[in-house]
């Protein structure tokens, strides 16, 4: 099991090459090898959505993807999407609406929401709830998350953009 393979991929805009075990998941690779701990492992079987990352622009379960399968792809994690301010409006809306408590599901929720709004810019509440059906949250009861995504959809449709999220004072 210890034979390693070289993998070259782009993570958060940076192209890098690493040796990985064939059995290593993309989630473990991001968390352990790259220190990108914003991607979380909740069930390791593709049910809870905590490990969602963008792979070539689409939400993918990093726990169901082997690192070697990600060769040649572009991965974006919550850290990268924060830096690039792509999800700054979602982050702001989640914060304002308190659409997170413990925060463990949050990176996956943000990526699911970003994926939803990319394919369906003005979803109904039912469509938002449906799109989140693979993202488990034990804390919030979901309503605040639905509210936040609905708000961002409306703001985006109105052409509003959000400044960088992390630099604003609380």
């Amino acid at each position: 099991m210890s034979a390693t393979l070289p993998v070259t991929l782009t993570v958060n805009g940076e192209t890098l090459t690493r040796l990985v075990e064939p059995r290593e998941t993309l989630a473990d690779f991001l968390r352990r090898d790259l220190g990108l701990t914003g991607t979380h492992a909740g069930c390791e079987m593709g049910v809870c959505g905590a490990c969602l990352v963008m792979l070539d622009g689409l939400p993918v379960h990093a726990c169901l993807t082997f690192a070697v399968q990600a060769a040649g792809t572009e991965i974006a994690t919550v850290e990268g999407l924060t830096e690039s301010t792509v999800i700054a409006d979602l982050q702001r809306a989640f914060h304002e609406r308190n659409a997170l408590q413990c925060g463990f599901c949050t990176p996956g929720m943000l990526i699911a929401a970003q994926g939803l709004l990319a394919r369906l810019p003005l979803p109904s509440r039912a469509e938002i709830r449906d799109a989140l059906s693979g993202n488990y949250c034990r804390c919030t009861g979901y309503e605040a998350i639905v509210d936040a995504i609905e708000t961002v959809a409306r703001r985006r449709a109105a052409g509003e953009t959000a400044p960088r999220f992390a630099e604003e004072p609380a």
Partner: protein, 791 residues
Amino acid sequence: MNAPLGSLDRPNSYIGRAVTRPNAKRLLAGRGRYVTDLVLPRMLHAAFLRSPYAHARIVSIDAEAARAMPGVRLVATGADLARLCTPWVGTLDHFKGMKSAPQLPLPVEEVLWSGQAVVAVVADSRAQAEDAAEAVLVEFEELPVVADIDTAREPDADRAAAGIEDNLCFRSRLDTGGIDALFAGAAHVVEEEFHFGRHTAVTLEPRAILADWDASEGKLTVHHATQTPYQFQDLYSRHYGIPEASVRVIAPDIGGSFGMKLHVYHEDMAVVGLSMLCRRPVKYVADRMESFVSDIHARDHRVRARMAVDAEGTILAMDVDDVTAIGAFSTYPRTSAVEGNQVIRLMGAPYRFRNYRAELAVVFQNKVQTSQYRAVGHPVACAVTERLVDLAAARAGLDPATMREKNLIPDDAYPCESPTGYKFEALSHQASLIRLKALMDYDALRAEQAALRTRGIHRGIGIASFVEISNPSPAFYGIGGARISAQDGATLSVTPSGEVRCLISVTEQGQGTETIIGQIVADQFGVAREKVRVITGDTEITPHGGATWACRGAGIGGETALQAARRLRDNVLALAATILQARPGDLDLRDGLVVDALSGAERVSLAEVARIAYFRSDTLPPDARAQLSITHHYAPQGYPFAFTNGIQGCHVELDVDTGLVKVLKHWVVEDCGRIINPLLVDEQVRGGVVQGLGAAFFEECRYDDNGQLTNGSLADYLVPMACEMPDIVVGHIETPTADTALGAKGCGEAGTAAASAAALNAVNDAMAPLGASIAQIPMTPERLLKSLGKI
């Protein structure tokens, strides 16, 4: 806000305001720091070989092949760890006659449930540790499995554990007297046998622990995903014989807890010993499959209950028999008997009747241990009571809301006592019911329901009143001998720049503890909220306290912060008075400035007072008291518990062909006393409701007759997801407790307490015209179709 703010209404008034959580921003940016994320130099990883049998004797362990595997540093058995760690027994002295078999980190002779950790492997990586665990050979001899609550209590029953004389962990009886006569003479008696499934917390971050024994210093540091760092500091100290001051427990960001992460787990105790044996940091994170077979489970009650009612529908008495199945031993240190105890004591709590009898039996069996999980006992007591109230209403010919109007304790009847001995300071059941009916537009919903029934659409409306127990005094654990604090402590300091640091013993798991403490300190001290930094969850930094459970964060932690902030403010004003040659009573602190209390005119800034205190003490008179740090402790006084109350409504539509239930909407009116932050309170309530609805419709740990959990994965164990959950309307009544200046009582369990009861009543209401009923949760489609006679 219908309660006057009174003395709390000051400049920088944050109490009662919906402000956002400063600490949520880094979680949103992916910068959370959970134990799962932590890496220490020379850190090793633990994995466990688990028992495939629910009850077995360990015949032999052969670890030679495993020890030779790549990266393996240690293979440890129960005997290895028993040399370091003393056994624990999960009983409390005030639960008379309670018993439980002693426990060790890993078993020496006998395994007690399927999934129990038997052998630990420590290796350079988790994968290597798991590889090696597969190579450990354990020979088991199967023993009879105790898996049924009735056979377990028969005289010659097999025992769930060798160390106990029978399978009865604890029994309790309450009786106000004359119950049989009351039932015999009652106009109506309704009765039912209820079944409440086992379920479990399913925190999204599994249990995680990283123990770091430093032999050179004799110091243990444990990074632990727990609600209660001080409790574990005490336990690691006593069971491993390390001086308390040399044990540091740090609880960083926690990915959900809900009570589950405040119990002793065998693996967690083992990891401390593994670190001592390896003299290196050792980390263990449960994977999801391990979580299902090792995190505490909860509920698992069979309740036979009846209610006596007079001809006008006045409730006369309740008679209850609760049998609850726990694991093969009682959980340490909070036990597995608290839930049953609260079930029989909370039964009927919102109502006026005075006559009550209850019998509780807490029974061992070979399954995962059960213990405290969000809203301990409340959902069971509430569902039994509220379903019986609905049945009684039907017999008396009353609408369910009218039945409650008639029987709820009047809002002007306080203080009063429940038939089970709980003392209520002030509750608001009647006002809550009125508010709920208005929010639901109850009469219109009933009219719509009747109209839809004629079209074959089966909707149901359920309501459920509840009482929630919170802010426990030492009567809860302290008097039972458990070293679990009922008080909390805070250290407040003014920094040299005039900002405030608050180190407090209550902990954060996302509910917003740090936010509300910051609001209270800023409000009461007199600075902008941004100037207050709140730090929690580290026994080496924060004063000893109970931490966050049983809704203590706001009620006890909040009052601690309030009193501490007032004391620090007095110190600042005394020093400012010395500097200004004024009287302290003529000064006030507002928005970071010492001002003339009457005119509000600025006299000197807090930053200037701090600068003088820290850097120019030479300019102060010799008797000046420059005490800009204080430590303050507060323990609840007055009532032994604070009680909150509320009422929930649930609106469902039942598909009688598939047994599927759609929850259309859910309403909650709750009274948590003083609301510190409405945004956070509402989200506590909503999250709690969804946990209750999960129990009502989906969640159940299903076992076969051999004690094997048959649905122990997140694909098989159903949790509520966004697409299945309704929008939830939350309303408030505020009845602050007079026991504290703050008046907050807590809101963490309210949602879970009554959601499943309201859902149970709603589904039964939908089925009533079809002559069907159900008294079991979760209400799965299969069970509903059986109730409807369709299968």
